[in-house]
């Protein structure tokens, strides 16, 4: 490396000659003609070496030497003099000149002097460099020691924390099962965003990230930079909590709740950040499982082809399924007996109430009507719902529509069973018939004609009663399609009215038949349909005779129709029915008439009408009376239809 050299001499010739010589020796040379110019040049160019003449006007070489050394002690100065004056030499050396060269300048002597200076400069530079390096090294080493100590302290904190968590987890494991499945990854980060220390579980699951970037454990690419909980905590100095996805060694992503806390703060500067990530994948899985299970139960609840109602002790519906809502309306918040059975008070023998009492399942069969007026037989099962204390808080009732099953069962019921169900009705008739025979015989024997007359009347009525029963049983036992014949509607209506009228008169009931003219024709099974209508009208008469609440009673038959259908309306002002009786009215073996009823009549009447493609409806109010309305399609062949409208 070429040394920078400043040559100072007042003689132009020496400046030029020495200047050339020094350049040839390989130095970079500047020149100055006096002391002031030299100081200026040094100030701007900072030469390594100054070569100066001693004898100069204004400021001599000695003076220049003093000034240089006082301001720039490291600059080497070589003095040049024409006099070999020892005093002058000593004076120069006292003022720290590096060397002394005499004029005329010997090239070799100058070169050797310059080399010595260069060596000295180089030595000094190296020394300075060593010193500086040593200082730096010492600083570096001691920094490292400090950092290591700090990290060791951090490791101890982590270890202690891990131990504490482990203890906590051990304690909790005895209480609850899944703490072991809820792993905690702990790491400490330094302010260079490097992982300093991790716990064992962190290393096992996420890998050994010590010395790696703080964000390497995060799966989300957006987090793999400075925007992650650790860096943000360094920045803000505040603890944070967030949900993150961590990247496992296996490549799988682990959902975790990450807590970051600044630790080791010094002068408002966060030194380390503690990162604790709680793996919630197990919880997520359990939550999902729970959700799925709940969904499954909800689906099951809603899609089960049964009516499901959950109610409390106060008869309030807490929940019902979709099918129930469809057929009975939303029941939640309503009373079960009103929503399901249109009653104003709890039903007798309620299986749900029994379950509340004894905690056992119960069942009951009943008849209900849907909101669109359909009737169905249902079988209800009740099951208790317990709370965690084992108390019954609610009861669930499952009701199945067994209308079809009942129909099937009904048809499969043997005649024997049927007679069993009707036995008391049959017994009543037999008793009365025997009575009639006894009175006839004894009347004849005693020649008591009044008794004979009464007995004969009794026997006639009873034979008619038994005849109806037998016909009903036969109809029931041999269920057949109607045998249709085309009839005049008005004629048919008058015929039916004629059957009932005498009995109504006997019972002192006003019977009226409003049968319009020009009602046309229809195709029906005359025997079955007349039996059905007579049955309904006889019921009307029975309802009037059993009612003592009115002065007079009426039974009215009205027949009318249009092109498509014929309508029969039978109205009485007898006893009337409550809602439950109304609902059971068409049910097999249901009778409200005690000994006189068999529970067959209305069931068969409704069956006959349904088989004709018609519909039967009843309106009734307890104490007010009952009204049946029957609609029958004309069912005419093309030719008959013409005749029907023509009439």
């Amino acid at each position: 490396m070429a040394l920078n050299l400043l040559l100072v001499d007042d003689e132009e010739g020496i400046r030029r000659f020495l200047g050339m010589l020094l350049k040839d020796l390989g130095y970079a040379v500047r020149v100055a003609s006096d002391g002031a110019g030299a100081l200026e040049a040094i100030d701007s160019a900072q030469p390594d070496l100054v070569l100066t003449d001693i004898k100069m006007p204004r400021m001599d070489g000695i003076e220049l030497l003093k000034r240089i050394k006082s301001r720039w002690p490291e600059i080497e100065v070589i003095m040049i003099s024409g006099h070999g004056d020892l005093d002058l030499v000593i004076q120069c050396l006292q003022h720290q000149a590096t060397d002394f060269v005499t004029k005329p300048v010997n090239e070799d002597i100058l070169d050797a002097a310059l080399r010595r200076v260069a060596e000295k400069i180089e030595l000094r530079r190296k020394l300075s460099e060593y010193t500086q390096n040593l200082e730096r090294l010492i600083k570096e080493k001691s920094d490292r020691v400090v950092e290591l100590e700090r990290q060791m302290a951090a490791s101890q904190v982590v270890d202690a924390l891990c131990q504490a968590l482990q203890n906590l987890s051990d304690e909790m494991r005895e209480e609850a099962g899944y703490n072991a499945d809820m792993p905690c990854y702990i790491a400490v980060h330094n302010r260079l965003f490097e992982v300093v220390s991790t716990n064992r579980l962190y290393r096992e699951r996420l890998g050994d990230k010590r010395g790696r970037c703080s964000w390497e454990a995060y799966a989300d690419p957006a987090r793999r930079g400075f925007d992650n909980p650790v860096c943000l905590t360094f920045k803000s100095g505040k603890a944070r909590r967030s949900r993150e996805m961590l990247l496992a060694l296996t490549g799988e992503q682990l959902p975790a709740v990450v807590y970051t806390t600044p630790i080791g703060c010094k002068e408002d500067r966060v030194e380390l950040v503690l990162e604790m990530a709680v793996d919630v994948s197990e919880i997520s899985r359990l939550q999902e499982e729970l959700w799925l299970t709940q969904q499954k139960y909800q689906d099951l609840f809603d899609e089960t082809p049964c009516y499901i109602v959950v109610r409390d002790k106060d008869y309030l519906i807490k929940a019902n399924n979709r099918l129930f809502t469809r057929d009975f309306g939303d029941g939640v918040g309503r009373n079960c007996y009103s929503a399901f059975r249109h009653r104003t008070e709890p039903c007798p023998e309620c299986p749900v109430s029994r379950t509340f009492e004894d905690g056992e399942p119960h069942h009951k069969e009943s008849v209900v009507s849907t909101r669109d007026g359909r009737e169905m037989n249902i079988l209800t099962w009740s099951t208790p719902i317990h709370n965690t204390e084992g108390e019954i808080v609610e009861v669930m009732e499952l009701s199945t529509d067994i209308t079809e099953i009942r129909k099937l069962q009904d048809h499969l019921t043997s005649l024997g069973l049927m007679l069993g169900s009707m036995s008391h009705g049959v017994k009543g008739m037999l008793t009365a018939l025997e009575g009639g025979v006894y009175r006839l015989e004894s009347g004849l024997a005693k020649n008591d004609m009044t008794r004979v007359g009464g007995a004969t009347e009794s026997i006639k009525v009873l034979v008619n009663r038994i005849r109806n029963l037998v016909l009903n049983v036969l109809y029931y036992a041999k269920s057949r399609e109607p045998e249709r014949e085309e009839l005049d509607v008005a004629e048919f209506g008058r015929m039916v009215a004629g059957i009932v009228e005498p009995r109504a008169q006997r019972e002192k009931i006003v019977f009226s038949a409003a049968i319009g003219e020009g009602l046309g024709r229809f195709a029906v099974d005359s025997g079955n349909l007349s039996a059905a209508l007579v049955n309904i009208m006889e019921n009307a008469i029975d309802a009037c005779t059993a009612d003592s609440g009115k002065d007079s009673h009426t039974v009215a038959l009205r027949v009318d129709g249009d092109e498509r259908e014929v309508r029969f309306e039978i109205t009485d002002n007898g006893l009337g029915m409550d809602r439950e009786t109304k609902e059971k009215a068409f049910t097999l073996f249901f009778s409200s008439k005690g000994l006189k009823g068999t529970g067959l009549g209305l069931f068969i009447a409704s069956d006959v009408i349904t088989k004709h493609g018609g519909a039967i409806r009843l309106e009734s109010e307890r104490g007010q009376g009952t009204s049946f309305s029957i609609r029958l399609p004309r069912n005419l062949s093309a030719a008959g239809a013409e005749a029907g409208t023509a009439n």
């Binding site: 008391h424 017994k427 009543g428 037999l430 008793t431 025997e434 009575g435 009175r439």
Partner: protein, 117 residues
Amino acid sequence: MPKRILVIDDDEHVSSYLSDLLGDAGYETDVAANGQQALALLEKKRFDLMTLDLEMPDMTGPKFNKVLKRQGRSGDIPIVVITGHMGLKYVIPNAVAEFDKPIDREALLAKVKEILG
């Protein structure tokens, strides 16, 4: 003086039969078609026995019995239950006899004779 029997049954054919049957056996009879009529007759006349049907339109046999009890008459007049519901035969605990329908005529007459002496 002939013994008096009250026949209670809502089926007129049955009540006229029982009335004639007991009348032929030498008893005097009255007929009630329901509970109210029976109670009215019991107010007016003295009876030595009554036959009771369990199903009447205005009240059941047990209800009728309860009304009697309330009036303090229970036990005064022996009750013979005549019903088609043999399952219900013990619902009148103070009844002296029960008969199933159709009635065994001879057994009924024998029992009435035994009770009335």
